[in-house]
Structures are given as structure tokens and as C-alpha cells.
Amino acid sequence: MSDRLFNWYRFASPQAFYPLAGRMIPWFWALAALFGIAGLYVGFLVAPTDAQQGEGYRIIFLHVPASWMSMFIYLVMAFWAGLGLAFNFRLSGMMAQALAPTGAMFAFLSLWTGALWGKPMWGTWWVWDARLTSELILLFLYVGFIALQSAIDDPRRADKAGAILALVGVVNIPIIYFSVKWWNTLHQGSSVNLAKSSMATVMLWGMLLCALACWMYSIAVALMRVRRIMLEREKDTLWVREELAREAS
């Protein structure tokens, strides 16, 4: 492997990934702030009012990015969990553990902003339609994953149990995404997908910028969290003791 120009496998070891993550974190924070300011500026000051919903629609700039992230982070988490289950990489379990709280936060944010949006527009905070219910199940899956992992003391066994739960839960993601297509729901169909958008262009740009900000935020936070998890799990190794001694001095 040493003849490769860049050896990816090197960063599969926590010892090598720890300093790399540390160097990347400030950049992702900066990008998150940049995209966040641009997205909110476009969303709240440039984008026009909506013909149907007036100013109230502007919660879309938080609601849709949060919903996208809640689903996407779950897929990434399940990918790492599955990788760990198959190949026993030390890093993959740590990544899955680091992503779960951020995913849970976005799932909660999606449900919460959805309720705040539903009351004035639909006339209700909550209905048990397929979209809302499957998103609530996603939040429960995240909470279940976190609870299961922290209930088991041995990190290797905790990773395995969590990975199986995470992989089983993957089936919920297409259900959330296609629920508005497969069944009658109160929630409207998707406004944006890879092929088309039924939003005015400025509104779409505001939403995409906010989504990018959420991406950058998620990466920054997950990297910060995975660094803490590395130190905790490998606290008996030499590199962690050296690292802590360096940070203390």
C-alpha cells in the first residue's frame, strides 16, 4: 500500500485521524458560519413572500434542511455502523456514536419546526399521517441507538448492538422520503428533488445555502465529538497520554 500517492487507510486509525480532525474543525465552523449568514440573508431579506402562505413559509429555511440532515446523517451513521460490523475498524464505531446526537437533534428540530408551521397553515400541530409518523420513528431510532450504545459498557459490544439497530432502522429512510408519494398524507409532496424544483429560484437558493450550513455544522460537531470519543475509548494507550500531556502544557 505504501506505493500509493495518498494512503487513506492511514486515517482509519484514531491516532492518525485525531490531529487531522483537529485541523479540519475550524474550517468547517467557518464554512458553516459563512453559508449560514448567506442562507439566512437570502431567506429572510431577499426571498419574496409566498403567494399562498405569506411570510409564514420562511420557516422552510430551517425545516427542510433539518429534515434532510436528519435522514442523511442516519444513512451516514448506518454506513459507518455497517462498516464496523463487517470489518471491525476501530474508527467506524466511534463515527457512528459521534453522529447520532447531531442526527437526533435535527430530527427533533424537523418535528418541532414542522409543528410550529403546521398550526397556522394546516390548522393543527400534529397529525398521524405517514410522513410525520415515520419522521417521529426516526427520532426514536436515534434515541434508541444512543440509549443502547450507552447501556453497554464494553465499547466493542456496544458498537455491535448499535450497528444492528442502526442497520435495521435504515428501512425507515425511504419510507420517510417516499411517504408523501406512496400514500395520501396531509404533508404536501416534495418541492425539490434532483430533477425539478417547484420553488421560486431565490427561495430555492436560500434553502440550499441553509442546507449547506447545516452540513458544515454537522461535520464540525461530529468531528469534535469523535475526538472526545477517541480520547475516552483509547485512554490507556500511549498516544492518548502523549496527546493529553501536549494539550495540557
Binding site: Q52, F87, P120, W122, L167, I175, L186, A200, M203
Partner: protein, 155 residues
Amino acid sequence: MKTRHKRLLLILAGLVILGAVAALVLNAFQSNLVFFFSPTQVAAGEAPKGKAFRIGGMVKEGSIRREADGVTLSFVVTDTEQDIAVRYQGILPDLFKEGKGAVAQGKIGDDGVFVASEVLAKHDENYMPPEAAQAVGEAHARALMKKAQETTVSP
């Protein structure tokens, strides 16, 4: 084949089986997963009888009327093929308008009128500024006018 490749295959096979099981289960529960029935489904007898259920569709243009008592509202929900008359007393969401989507929960009474206990608005996935919406509306009206002219000329 290495053990870890076997494990990967096992995991992937497990996911495929799980997906198939989920698809079958969801298919079996199809009728329980819909949030509302369209007027056509109700006419075909697909809606539960003697139980509360939800209907959904467009509020028919020009159908909203307030009855003599001043609090009861009546309107027609349509999917352009079938109509259902609805009677309702209560609060309506701001987006409840003629020509827009609505979902009503209730029962069909003896007189065939759907007596709603709750009415929700269902908006579509289009977001555009009011000027654009007006332009779309005018273009739509022009298209209808043109179609009407063609049909009157042709016979």
C-alpha cells in the same frame, strides 16, 4: 473469501431481506396508512362504514355557504370526478379557501352529508411570489378560454 467479506455479504443480504419484508408489510397495511380518502374512493365504498374517517380533496369553487344559524358552514369537497357535501361547525385554518386542498374528519350522516368534526387545510408544494402566482393564474385562465373557443368553433 475472507471472513470480513463474508460478514459484509451477510449484512447486505440481511438488509435486502429486511427491505423485502418491510415492503410486504407496508403493502399489506396499505389501506391503514392513508391519511384520507378521496371522494371517488368514498363513492366506491372503500371508506370505512359507520366509523369516523377523513376525506380529502379540493374545496369546490363557489360551494362555501354559511347556513341560517350563522355558525354552521357547508361546502363541497371534490376530486373533479366525485363530490361530497360537508357540514362543519368550528374553527377553520387561514388557508381554507375555495379551489384549495382540504382534509375533513367526520362521519357520513343519514342524509348523505359528511358531518366534519375537524377541518384542516392541505396546501401544495409550490412556493412562489404573489406576482408569479397571479401570472400563472392568468395564463391558466387564457388557456381555458382558448380551449373553450376551440371547442365552440369546431362543431
